[in-house]
């Protein structure tokens, strides 16, 4: 496996130079691995993980999850719907699901009204969409692997031990 990808999968946030140190590569090698991962469309990009309940980060803080039922098309199945829906800027993530509905869409907007109008005017009016069910997120406890309450207390490990 690509040694840089291994480090990325660990979920830390090492700089290029740190990754080079850990993997025993030059910085240029690491950059080349990162380029290759992007070229191969394995690494799609970088984004900060923010606590959106904090005033400073709350620029677009209304988030909703929408369950969408659609009529699959002959030939295209769900893909054409999913790809079309996914292209809206409001949509952060979009998944095809098993179970009681077809697509699960994560949406973010600056206000409740904006998200609501996205659902009623854009999403539900796409031909083939049978129904939508929108759930607004009230509070976040864990965001992409990060606990919002900080998780464990700072380490109390002894500095020197046998």
């Amino acid at each position: 496996m690509n040694p840089v990808l291994k480090l990325l999968l660990e979920g830390g946030s090492l700089t290029t130079a740190q990754m080079a140190s850990v993997a025993g590569l030059s910085v240029a090698d690491v950059e080349q691995h990162l380029e290759q991962l992007k070229k191969d469309k394995i690494l799609l990009g970088w984004r900060p993980v923010l606590d959106l309940s904090r005033e400073a980060a709350a620029g677009a803080a209304v988030r909703a999850v929408i369950e969408v039922k659609v009529t699959p098309e002959r030939g295209g199945g769900f893909n054409r719907f999913a790809e079309r829906i996914a292209r809206f800027d409001e949509v952060e993530s979009c998944y095809l699901m098993s179970g009681g509905y077809d697509l699960l869409v994560f949406v973010k907007g600056p206000s409740l009204q904006k998200v609501a109008s996205f659902v009623s005017e854009k999403l539900s009016t796409i031909e083939g969409v049978l129904s939508t069910s929108t759930h607004f997120m009230l509070r976040c406890y864990k965001e992409q692997g990060y606990l919002l309450d900080g998780g464990d207390a700072p380490t109390t490990r002894l500095n020197v031990a046998p």
Binding site: N159, V160, A161, P162
Partner: protein, 389 residues
């Protein structure tokens, strides 16, 4: 009345661990930006599902004593685990005892098997408790040196050279704290042959066995004819990141486990039920955590060993454990001066090898159970320190 006169002579004569002095020294720098490679435990906190199992046990009112040997469910899980990972078969009913960490198991074994004056062989450099545990049981500890040229593997030749009449027991700790030394199967076979020849009981502390990075770990207890003369000690502290839970176990022939149980019964009674419940969860569902942590330790080992050698501190690649044990003699400093000066000038703590016995001279122990970021900075500081020398 002079209070020290009340102290038993063999305890009064026992020196305090050399680690203790260094601990005090580091403690004085509290608040400063010290990176410690002086620790002896994982930096990972116990995986949540294991902690949650302990909370659940408390919620269900599991607050009582357990049987002296420990919860039978846990002993069954230990028996399965040791069978699967070490290829040794122990009956959960009478060949397994759950203890308060390997430390208690070691103490039980010493008290159960050593007669006053018996000789016990152990390899050195080693964990700080081995020799004192023997002395506290009124035995004589005989150090067998291991050497950097052998990557700190114990050799049968060294054992033979150190052997004395009256030796009854041999203590092993492979992979070894502080050297990371291990033995190949062939080396273990020779040690086993020696143990059979000299009729020694073998006490094997394999607490770091899951953290073997190159090749597979072999337990001496799994070799032909050895299970009957071996006490296998293991626990959860290192592989499952559970040091503070104080939970371990010993496996061996039923009469020997029964003898250890007697001492345990009259002293500890049983290990904490909460820790036992957590340990059960660790064995049943914790293997993926072990692999995840081992992979990170492996990369950290490669990093620190490469850096030490680049810096000019000769360092073998430890096959197991989370300790590097570089040779610092090239700096012209003793291991104590190296560690002290490094701490005061560059704020990096390592432990002088002498704390692990005479044969640790010229080396320091650097624990790599710390984040990549910290390791990188620590190595850069050590490099600056060595260059300034």
């Amino acid at each position: 009345m002079n209070p020290p006169d009340f102290i038993a002579r063999h305890v009064a004569a026992l020196p305090k661990s050399g680690i203790r002095d260094f601990f005090e020294l580091v403690a004085k720098l509290k608040g400063q930006d010290v990176i410690s490679l002086g620790v002896g435990e994982p930096d990972f906190v116990t995986p949540w599902h294991i902690r949650e199992a302990a909370i659940f046990a408390l919620e269900k009112g599991k607050t009582y004593y357990t049987s002296n040997l420990g919860l039978i469910e846990l002993r069954r899980a230990v028996s399965d685990y040791v069978g699967k990972h070490f290829g040794i078969s122990y009956r959960p009913e009478d060949q397994v005892i759950i203890t308060v960490g390997v430390s208690e198991a070691l103490d039980l074994a010493c008290r159960a098997f050593i007669n006053p004056g018996d000789k016990v062989m152990f390899h050195q450099p080693c964990y700080v408790s081995y020799s004192p545990s023997v002395v506290l049981a009124h035995g004589h500890a005989i150090a067998v040196p291991t050497y950097a040229k052998d990557n700190f593997a114990l050799t049968a030749e060294a054992l033979r050279a150190a052997w004395q009449p009256g030796a009854r027991m041999l203590m092993l700790n492979l992979p070894c704290n502080p050297t990371g030394g291990t033995c190949t199967r062939e080396q273990l076979e020779k040690i086993a042959e020696f143990a059979r020849e000299k009729d020694l009981l073998v006490l094997t502390d394999e607490i770091y066995s899951e953290l073997t990075f190159d090749g597979t770990h072999t337990s001496i207890a799994s070799l032909p004819g050895m299970a009957e003369r071996t006490i296998f000690l293991h626990g959860f502290s290192k592989a499952f990141a559970m040091t503070g839970w104080r939970i371990g176990y010993a496996c061996g022939p039923a009469p020997l486990i029964d003898a250890m149980m007697k001492v345990h019964q009259y002293s500890m009674l049983c290990a904490s039920i909460i820790a036992q419940e957590a340990a059960l969860e660790a064995l049943l569902r914790g293997w993926d955590d072990v692999l995840r942590m081992r992979e990170q330790y492996h990369r950290r080992r490669d990093l620190i060993v490469r850096r030490f050698n680049e810096i000019g501190l000769k360092c073998h690649s430890p096959r197991g454990s989370f300790y590097a044990f570089p040779d610092v003699t090239a700096t012209g400093l003793s291991e104590k001066d190296f560690a002290t000066n490094l701490l005061t000038s560059q704020k990096v703590a390592v432990v002088p090898g002498i704390a692990f016995g005479e044969n640790g001279k010229g080396h320091v122990r650097a624990c790599f159970a710390t984040s990549y970021e910290q390791l990188i900075v620590a190595c850069d500081r050590i490099e600056r320190f060595v260059q300034k020398k």
